[in-house]
Symmetry: C2
Subunit: 137 residues, 2 copies
DNA sequence: CACCTGTTATACAAATCATATAACAGGTGG
DNA sequence: CCACCTGTTATATGATTTGTATAACAGGTG
């Protein structure tokens, strides 16, 4: 199972951090389609938080289509989302980030480099798994 | 003054929406360095929200270096932020957005196109102002 | 039938969000 | 000096969110 690390001093909600880390885990192929996440009780015990906080994270992930629930197994990674459906949300979020970036005098090229850097870091952990990526070199 | 539009049914906090729209206004050069924002009381009345909600937004913008306060004039747009100081936050936010994008099967090239599209939209309103941009064509 | 899943119902404390009324400190202009 | 404008602060209140806690329920497995 992948490492989950929660920053309890962060202003970001615990369930939100958990969601983000799982999504990033999927992006890095540390979590692959069909993989079973730890049960809400197990995950809660591992991290040292309440069961309901984990459940809330799973519920959000389910609503956003990152996991599906199999009653016999539990929460299963399931990435069958199409581009178009989620694009609106991504566009909104991206717009906010880019507005800040532009105010900080980051050029379009700077952002491209940052995107490449992060996408590369996603694929790094993915190197030996045989998964195909969109990466150059 | 630029248009501010609040979505009261949104799950995003009002002061947060206000911050984002002002930052996007700066990114689009609808708000330029030295420009005076409406007073907290005026802005609150215009939008139909409480003075303190506006004040909270201004306080956040001040802490993040987007405005400075001139006691005689009020909140003044002031973008003197260096790249490096704010880069960590941008990198974190960008990483979260890109993780979701990659899970939605957006390729690196797709993201580049999205970035170009948004950056272009920033510069559009900026077209007749003589401000130099990083845009191609 | 025990045992594992997610899920739901309550309840509770703490924090956040938005509102409201009121006052204070500093700068401007009549 | 005095109204008048700024941001700012102090309190208070109500709604919502967050996280925790105990407990129970429904469905699938062995």
């Amino acid at each position: 199972m992948m490492y989950i690390e929660i920053d309890f001093s962060s202003d970001e909600a615990i369930y939100q951090q958990l969601c983000n880390q799982i999504i990033q885990g999927i992006a890095m192929s540390r979590l692959v389609d069909g993989e079973v996440l730890p049960s809400v009780r197990q995950m809660a015990e591992d991290i040292g938080i309440n069961m309901h906080t984990v459940n809330k994270a799973y519920t959000v992930l389910k609503q956003e289509g990152f996991v599906k629930v199999d009653r016999r197994r539990g929460a299963v990674v399931s990435v069958h989302a199409d581009k178009e459906k989620a694009l609106d949300q991504i566009r909104r979020d991206m717009r906010a980030v880019l507005a800040e970036a532009r105010c900080r005098n980051l050029s379009r090229e700077d952002v491209h480099r940052l995107v490449d850097e992060i996408y590369a870091s996603f694929a790094e952990a993915d190197a030996g798994t045989g998964t195909d990526t969109d990466l150059p070199g």
